[in-house]
Structures are given as structure tokens and as C-alpha cells.
Symmetry: C2
Subunit: 233 residues, 2 copies
DNA sequence: CCCTACATATCGTAC
DNA sequence: GTACGATGTGTAGGG
């Protein structure tokens, strides 16, 4: 539906949208999206499922429409099933209204996420320099698997944490793994390497402070090496 | 537009959506959203502005439509202006198509986010007890700004981390700040205080373990104090 | 059901 | 303009 509307949200925060023409979407699960004609994919306001939508008409309503609310032709009240958050949409003028049953979507197929970076680096440890070798991917520990366990040219044990984007959380994660691995006398001393396509300055600072090396990975370059090797066989 | 379509995205990753009925939205800035009839506000696929949309018809196209592509009535190619990411939408059957000019949206008014909590607490350090004073908000450090730096009644230095919802990562954040500040002989010893509207039990336990005090903030109460003070002047 | 980790995040703000 | 944290983050996977 395209309509002149005003919107109020009450929940984790309160928010208000003054009267203006907008796109209103009601999905099959009752969720509601309020979009403007610009910005990115995020709606101005919305209600996530599970939620229930109730539509009131002026004649249903005992109370007179006061000046503050203005004159509306429909008032939607959307209530979240668990949190009790509410979204109230007052529809002042309907510009267009269509409805379709779409059915369940077959879903999205993705390619090129963190798991692929890990596989590519494991296949091409040379990207870290000559003489590096893979011990194993997803090396198990009590607090979760280490992305890659490797040996440097001197034979020293190295834990590698891989991220698409290197931020502080990733350095903390690597810290926990290295602390734990260094308690194992068979592995210690274990160094840490933080590898990502982009590493934020704060993360680089913290990694340096913790004694970790940082490596910037180039996905396309790694893929190129991988393809070249594949063609040799 | 509501239509049977298939979608391919190439950019940071590659993704594919098989043929199915979906909602296609084209905004005034040329951005495109592909929504299914369920899920939350996030589209299955999209292209963010700045981008350009080009629509091809079968008769425009020299090449024959092969079996893989299937028969389409429109093919949209959306290219991102900076990154070169592309979104290709093949429209197989149009179920509905409407167009409206909405104009610029007056925008969303929000209330109750972390910035407000920080401002309210900085204005009302008494909420922590008598004799507390503000040193400064957003006190800068090498790993990011500390929400509030304060002095307790005894003149001791205190770092305060404020969160809407107090969880473990907030305690970790405070830990990093306090560690760093304690290396500065002009400030040390620095205590830590974890302040939030709601503090999860896990976070409270971890904070206690790290030697931090926890404070629960009441947003409405702080706002009440603030309003009362404002009325005195 | 809760917790964890990832994501084409987007958005505002301070520097 | 860039960097950074916050978000009504959403979402998928595992215990």
C-alpha cells in the first residue's frame, strides 16, 4: 500500500514519523514495514514477527478523532507477540493498495563468506610467507575451534584467527584461544596471527598490544592462486 | 512491482535466488529491494545507492534467450556507482506494477538511545551517590573513547561504561579501558563502573570478578531529575 | 530455549 | 572524508 500516514513506535525506544506519503508493506506473517522513497534497505519503521495486526476504521471507534490525531481512514495497531512492542500506523489517505499471495521463498544461495576465506588460506599457506605449513583447520579446543593451527618456518606453533573484517572482538577471540593453547605443554609456545581482508586501526593496536601479528588477506588474489594451482592438475 | 523473478548478485560475495514470486521495490534514488512474503525487514537481496538501474526488453537484446536464463519479459541490471557490485533481476511474469512519487521524508524522531543515557548521567552524577563529579564525557584513549571519566567522593578516578543493555561484551570493553588507563601514572588507580538500564546476570558476575561496580540506571527517573533541575532555571 | 558468531549490515557522529 | 561504536541490529547454527 502507498499512503499518507503517520507512525508511532513504542518498545525498546520510542519513535515518531510525521504525516507524509510512504510505502506500507504487510507480509504474510503479519510483519509490517514502513519505507520512504530513499535510503537503503532498512525501513524507517517496522514490526518484526511474531506479531499481530489489527485494523480499526473510524466508524468502529467510539471516541471522536481529535485534532492531534488528524483525520484517518484506517488505524493499524501492530503488537509484537513476545515483547509487547507496539507500532501504530494512522493512514490518512490511500494512494494505492494491492495484495498478492507469494508463497514460501526457495531461499538464497550464497558464496564467498568467511568459511571460503578459511579454506583458501588453508590451501595457500604460502600467502603468509615461505615455509609455513598447515596443522589443521578448525582445531578443536574447550572454548571452540581455532580457525587454523599452523607451524611457522622455525617450526613454532601458530594460532590463526580469520575474519572478513578485523575488529576488536576478533582479537579478543584470538586472545582466548592463544591463552588456552599455551597451557598445553605439547604446543607451547603458541603465537597468534590475526588475518582479515580489512583490519581496523583499533583492532591492529590491540593485536600489537597482545603480541599478535596482523595479516591482510586479498580474497581475489588467494582465489587466483588457488585457480592457478587447480589448473596444474 | 510484484513478479515472478530470479536474481543474481555479484559483489563482496555472489548470491543467487531461484525463480519465484517476489516483491520488487525501486526507490527514487535507483536503489532496488527484493522482498519475500516473510522474514523480517531485511530484503532477500538488494542494491544500495548510489546505483543505476538499466531495464532491458527481449527485443532490445541481440542474443537469443537460452534455456538456462528461461524466458523473461524484463531484465534489470543494477550497478553500484562506487564498488561496481551488480544485481541482475530477470522478471519472468509481472503480477502487479504500480509507481508513485513520494517526495523527501520528514524523517524519524527517536528517543531513548544510549547517547541520551550518557548525557543524562553526565548531567546527574548524583545518581551514583553524593560527591561524584564529571571529568569528561567520551574521554579519548588509544583504543577508543571511555563513555564517562569521573571522580568518586574520595577523589579517585573512575571509568564508567554505559550500555542500554548490560551484557558480557560491555564488561570486556570496560576491562580494556581500565587496563589502559591504569598504565597512566597520572590517573592510576582507576576503578571501573558498569552502568546500564538492565544488567544480565552473566555480565554482573563477570563485572564482579573484574572488580567493577554495577549500577542500574532508570531512564525515566534520570529524565525526571533532569526536567526538575531544568525547571529551577 | 538461550548463547554465539557472522553480515552485501546501515546510521550517526567525532575527529 | 574516515573511523568508530551503536543498532528496536537480523539470522543461522549449536548446545
Amino acid at each position: 500500500m502507498v499512503a499518507e500516514c503517520s507512525v508511532d513506535y513504542t518498545g525498546r525506544l520510542t519513535a515518531h514519523l510525521p504525516r507524509a506519503p510512504r510505502l506500507l508493506i504487510v507480509k504474510a506473517d503479519g510483519s509490517v514495514l514502513v519505507h520512504s522513497d530513499g535510503g537503503s534497505y532498512k525501513p524507517l519503521n517496522w514490526m518484526a514477527p511474531p506479531c499481530t495486526l489489527r485494523v480499526a476504521l473510524p466508524e468502529d471507534d467510539g471516541r471522536a478523532q481529535d485534532a492531534e490525531d488528524g483525520d484517518w481512514v484506517e488505524e493499524w495497531t501492530v503488537t509484537h507477540g513476545k515483547t509487547g512492542d507496539t507500532l501504530r500506523v494512522q493512514v490518512h489517505e490511500i494512494l494505492s493498495d494491492t495484495s498478492h499471495e507469494l508463497g514460501v521463498d526457495p531461499g538464497l544461495i550464497k558464496d564467498g563468506v568467511e568459511a571460503h576465506l578459511q579454506a583458501l588460506l588453508a590451501d595457500n599457506m604460502d600467502a603468509l610467507g615461505d615455509g609455513w605449513s598447515l596443522v589443521r583447520r578448525e582445531y578443536p579446543t574447550a572454548i571452540g575451534p581455532v580457525d587454523i593451527l599452523a607451524r611457522d618456518p622455525e617450526g613454532g606453533c601458530v594460532a590463526i584467527e580469520i575474519k572478513r573484517r578485523g575488529e576488536i572482538d576478533g582479537v579478543e577471540q584470538l586472545t582466548r584461544y592463544v591463552d588456552l593453547l599455551n597451557r598445553d605443554p605439547l604446543l607451547a609456545p603458541v603465537r597468534g596471527v590475526f588475518a582479515a581482508q580489512v583490519i581496523k586501526p583499533q583492532a591492529k593496536t590491540l593485536a600489537g598490544d597482545r603480541g599478535f601479528d596482523c595479516v591482510t588477506l586479498d580474497y581475489d588474489e588467494l582465489r587466483g592462486i588457488d585457480d592457478k594451482e587447480a589448473r596444474l592438475f
